[in-house]
């Protein structure tokens, strides 16, 4: 169980970082999504991993219960990352339509153009 969770966090993070470094809008969006999955699983594990334990205290006995707080945190994190991904997709789409390419790095910066103009003049 621990191995499965730990390795999935690791693999998702590695994939996410790799995709972000591609510096193209679509891979970057996927990479950020993978990273947010990784962090969600990671947050679950911060309350210690327990299988089949309810997230509520049981007043009728000493039954084991799992920590409910990380679950609330994960829920918040999911909602936020979902909204952020939607915004990111819209902005990426706008940038793609305006610039006709989906590169994240600004290679054809106005500075380069201006310097070219100066040199040409």
């Amino acid at each position: 169980m621990e191995l499965l969770v730990a390795s999935s966090v690791g693999v998702l993070t590695a994939g996410g970082v790799y995709l972000i470094l591609r510096l193209r809008a679509f891979p970057v969006i996927l990479g950020l999504a993978l990273l947010s999955y990784a962090v969600n699983i990671f947050l679950f594990s911060t309350g210690r991993l327990l299988v089949n334990a309810p997230p509520v205290l049981n007043k009728y006995g000493d039954a084991v219960n799992t920590d409910p707080l990380p679950q609330a945190l994960v829920l918040t994190a999911i909602v936020i990352s979902f909204g952020m991904t939607a915004v990111l997709v819209m902005i990426a789409l706008g940038a793609f339509l305006e610039a006709d390419h989906d590169k994240i790095d600004m290679t054809d910066e106005p500075e380069a153009e201006a310097m070219g103009e100066e040199r040409g003049a």
């Binding site: 996410g16 972000i20 809008a25 970057v28 950020l32 990273l35 947010s36 990784a38 962090v39 990671f42 947050l43 594990s45 911060t46 309350g47 707080l69 990380p70 945190l73 918040t76 994190a77 936020i80 990352s81 909204g83 952020m84 915004v87 990111l88 902005i91 990426a92 706008g94 940038a95 305006e98 610039a99 994240i104 790095d105 600004m106 910066e109 106005p110 500075e111 201006a114 310097m115």
Partner: protein, 515 residues
Amino acid sequence: MSHWIIAPVVLPAVLAPIIAFVMRHDIGLARAASFAGTIALAAICIGLTVAAAGGETVSYELGNWPAPFGIVLVLDRLSAVMLLLTSMLALIVLVHAVATGWDARGRHFHALFQFQLMGICGAFLTGDAFNLFVFFEVLLIASYGLMIHGGGRVRLQAGLQYVVMNLAGSTLFLFALGTLYAATGTLNIADLAEKVRALPVEDAALVRSAAIMLMIVFAVKAALFPVQFWLPGTYSNAPAPVAALFAIMTKVGAYAIIRVHSVVFGPDVPVLAGLPGTWLMPAAIVTLAIGAIGVLGARRLMPLLSFSVVGSMGTMMIAVAAFTPEATSAALYYLVHSTFSAAALFLLADLVVSRRETGDLLKAQMPTVQNGLFAALFFAGAIGMAGMPPLSGFLGKLLILDAMRTTPEMTIAFVAILVGSLLTIVGFARAGSILFWKSTAMEPVEIDPAADAVDPEAPQAAGVLQVVPTFAALALLAGLAAFAGPVSAYLNAASGQLFDSSGYVEAVLGQDAEG
């Protein structure tokens, strides 16, 4: 009184959707509502600052759940100063945005503006680390909208970079919070402060990595080396009023470092042994160097101003990195100063750039209208930013240098700040003389006066309302210098309160003993 603490969050949070849904077709109504909201916010923040001046740390329990189980908002002198700073800056920026018509160049400017204020005020008030994350996200998502306000290819591309950078930062924030929770079992800042101090040194690894991860996250916001590279691209491509408002955004990161790394991971914590300061100091010095060199090397006005913001963050964080009450109080003074001086310069740059044919390119061209007025304002702003008398930048740097005198990093901090200031002065002097001075020496090209008179493209003289915000920001700098005594007395008290973490813990956690 106690319910007023949440007013700076609730007021914009209620106003923003109303503006977005009810007033979206009527810019006049939206402007009126936005002004009313911002003025009310300023009044509330003044009230809170006066209330906090007594030195009592007030905690507000949301839903009346006792800490650490519920979420708390905490008002102390530091939060109050930051709130006041935010609301003053917001008012200045709003006047500029409306007077220059920036708010009508895209949709939902005022709604996003109010959401941004809500996020910033919440981040300054919250007493819960996860809540800090949530307010960070609120202010970020509003800032994404503001950043690409008005559209355009370059701005959208720069906006995309900014969003990606901050989303990666947010993910790291969550990893840090998870690690912290796994190590301590709480995310309430006061409770964390107690638990981290009680932690045995053998279990330090998780907390130490969480502390450093949190510092990286806040450093992304505060534009510290090595994660400062997003700032010049973002600020120079953002709409100018937004860039001026973003002057407070870097300070949110700085505030978070000051708050979290003093109260929770302070220098007196045995498991950390001063780790944050060890890493923050070199980062701040390199940031200052990058800022100063960037100012010297910039070919355009907006990147030049952006790099000067990077440099001022470096200067400020050098003082923060010392983690002593004196240095923190100097850093707070410089924080207030650098916010207003950056805002003044960005607002002025907007007035100048929109009237020049060559935009913000640092290249002599025919003087545009009101060259003298703009030159004088730029001179004053540059003096403020570079840290020369008589404006408050000089006093701020003096306070920082004085506070650094007793620290082991004295030599390097002195060299960095003084050389950095010199480079900034040279850079600003060069930009100012190219923009305003050389242009007056140029031979006027023969134009037909009749054609010139009817040219609708000819730059208009700036109206009173358009210049007032810049003047107001500069006047605040002058005021900050003139009333440096009372201001720094308040800030001294604020940093004293900050470093008395047991007082903070008592104010937040002490209440459940009564109830």
